[in-house]
Amino acid sequence: MSVKSTAAGATPARSGGRSTAAPAKARGRTARAAGAKRRGTEPELVQLLTPEGERVEHGEYSIDLTPEELRGLYRDMVLTRRFDAEAITLQRQGELGLWASLLGQEAAQIGSGRATRPDDYVFPTYREHGVAWTRDVDPLNLLGMFRGVNHGGWDPNENNFHLYTIVIGSQTLHATGYAMGVAKDGADSAVIAYFGDGASSQGDVAEAFTFAAVYNAPVVFFCQNNQWAISEPTEKQSRVPIYQRAAGYGFPGVRVDGNDVLAVLAVTRAALEHARSGQGPMLVEAFTYRMGAHTTTDDPTRYRADEEREQWESKDPILRLKTYLDKQGLADEAYYASIEQESDVLAKRVRDGVRTMENPDTMAIFEHVYADGHALVDEERAQFAEYLASFESESESESESEFEFESESESEGAASGEGR
């Protein structure tokens, strides 16, 4: 009795060590050759633009963009990066409590975000600043939670861009449920759920795969494999490439070069179309790299080598597209200068906007706990207002805000008759 080969075509790799990721990267680059076989046992990266800025074709995924569209992607990425850099600066200056940088993931985010239609719905993690950009979400909205003035607070339905979700993996189920609703409504929109390589280990993500498959929900699972979950490399989450997980749940998975904005756009478009056309879910793994720290409080020197980062700098998604634009003569210095200027304007707007962002009123603690009111919240609001007022009357100094509390508390209390 013997097990000559693995039964389901699995490739049990050696566990431990970063060896499994490295070959994948190398192999990724060989995929440049057009028409490379896609069904080999080894992971293969869909790529349409090499790190050297050369346009290559792919057997299954193609794209044909106008110069305007190409420049648009470049502009998106540059502005997103600038916004991100500004946020890091603002954090250093104490204007933000924390920032989760997307540096290095611009192509994965802009490419996938630009693949969505306005009627599609996006469920991000906490790092999708670039996707937000493509959905016309005001960048200032993203900063509220990092400044500590709210937990998000924007209207998800305004741009079909859900709130950031911090607890890892949860949003994949929300996206799946939303997609089930889309299907029920007979709408032809699709839903896209972002998550990370680390998140792929959460049970919720697996359950999302199950529900999406069973209900044939129009949802694209978009995994940005930036190769790190804080300090843990992807081998701590999986010993095979993450895109392969989809097959076991009965839907297709594909790995795309996450630093190639054209490939990401093409693959995500196809995946969304797959979903919209009633074929159910699809998993896209964008193979990319977190160039910066996990967040501004993280210190990556404790756990990863500088060389790794340096290697990835040569695959920079913005540089790559710029090289291509240059080679093709699609953009000139004047164009770049104008983008640079736009960046400056954006950065200033963000800077000014953050600095003038108002702190929430103390009594906001009691707001929006319930939609239909709750007697205890009303009681505690009133008590706390009274407590605060006792200081006011002691000091007699800020009587205005005292009135504010009282009036707010009263109007809310009245409006919030419990239950129905």
Partner: protein
């Protein structure tokens, strides 16, 4: 006015909700052809189709998580958790997402999700089928927690839960499913969050909810034979909790015993005791006493009769309270 069991009242209530609002969905394990293990959803899939009454994969986090997504899309999912002990895989989605998302969005989205949980013991079941985890939800801001004790409340409170724009944890006293009572499906119900005096009395107040209301009513009857007049308050809602009605009662009777199945330690009775003592400090002739579960896992079925608060233990506490 019709005579029906709690189980039937819940079934009718779901049927009415599915009829009235095309956005209402029923989802859970085995809710379809089987009609749920307690038959609460009996016949609903047949009448409303698989699109409205949905058999889900066996994954509670997935059920609640996708219900949240459906709510975001404008649906009003009514989720069935098969038994109390199986809600915990969904606990994260409930307390971290469902309870907080409305606040996270500063009110810009609503989460009208009802989670029905058959709870508490008394049916001779195996482990995990008899638990009373209500405080683990009532403590969490953003959730509402209600539990009916009779068919009329079962019918109306479930309607109200489904109409509510907030997430509601709806605990169903499973061992009372087959108890019958009058239901007026055309009445105008009061707030689901108001307690009601189920039995008037003057000497002591018994506060209870769900399955224990019946025990307290029986205790009141038994006590009246001994010349004692007990008032029974059916709390109905655990979040919010109607302290006003309780306070009025205790200011009259001056003594309070809280009865529930859940472990006493950090149980719902603690909050009631603490707050009523604060509100009625000068009225109370005795400390608020609590009768409930022990600090031990729910025991095997052969022990549950002795484990569960029954007439004797309630009356023992009444005696002790009156002895002060």
């Amino acid at each position: 006015m019709t005579q029906m069991s709690i189980a039937k009242a819940l079934n009718e209530s779901l049927r009415t909700a599915l009829d009235n609002d095309p956005k209402v969905l029923v989802m859970g394990e085995d809710v379809g052809k089987l009609g749920g293990v307690f038959r609460i959803t009996d016949g609903l899939q047949k009448d409303f189709g698989e699109g409205r009454v949905i058999d889900t994969p066996l994954a509670e986090s997935g059920i609640v998580g996708t219900a949240i997504g459906l709510a975001l899309r404008g649906y009003r999912p009514v989720v069935e958790i098969q038994f109390d002990g199986f809600v915990f895989p969904a606990y994260d989605q409930i307390v971290t997402q469902l309870a907080k998302m409305h606040a996270r969005a500063l009110g810009k989205i609503k989460l009208p999700v009802v989670i029905r949980i058959p709870y508490a013991g008394g049916i001779g079941a195996v482990e995990h089928h008899s638990e009373s985890p209500e405080v683990l939800f009532a403590h969490v801001p953003g959730l509402k927690v209600i539990t009916p004790s009779n068919p009329s409340d079962a019918y109306w409170m479930l309607q109200q839960a489904i109409e509510c724009d907030d997430p509601v944890i709806f605990f169903e006293p499973k061992r009372r499913y087959w108890d019958k009572g009058e239901v007026d499906t055309s009445a105008v119900p009061g707030s689901p969050h108001k307690a009601v005096v189920a039995q008037e009395g003057t000497d002591l107040t018994l506060a209870a909810y769900g399955p224990m209301v019946k025990v307290c009513l029986e205790a009141a009857a038994a006590a009246s034979n001994e010349g004692r007049s007990l008032e029974v308050v059916d709390l109905r809602s655990l979040s919010p909790l109607d302290f006003d009605t309780l306070q009025t009662s205790v200011e009259k009777t001056r003594r309070l015993v809280v009865v529930h199945e859940a472990p006493v330690f950090y149980g719902t009775g603690a909050e009631i005791a603490a707050r009523i003592t604060e509100r009625c400090f000068y009225h109370l002739e005795a400390p608020v006493l609590r009768v409930g579960g022990f600090h031990a896992p729910y025991p095997p079925a052969r022990l549950e009769e002795e484990y569960l608060p029954g007439l004797d233990r309630v009356l023992d506490a009444v005696d002790r309270a009156l002895a002060f």
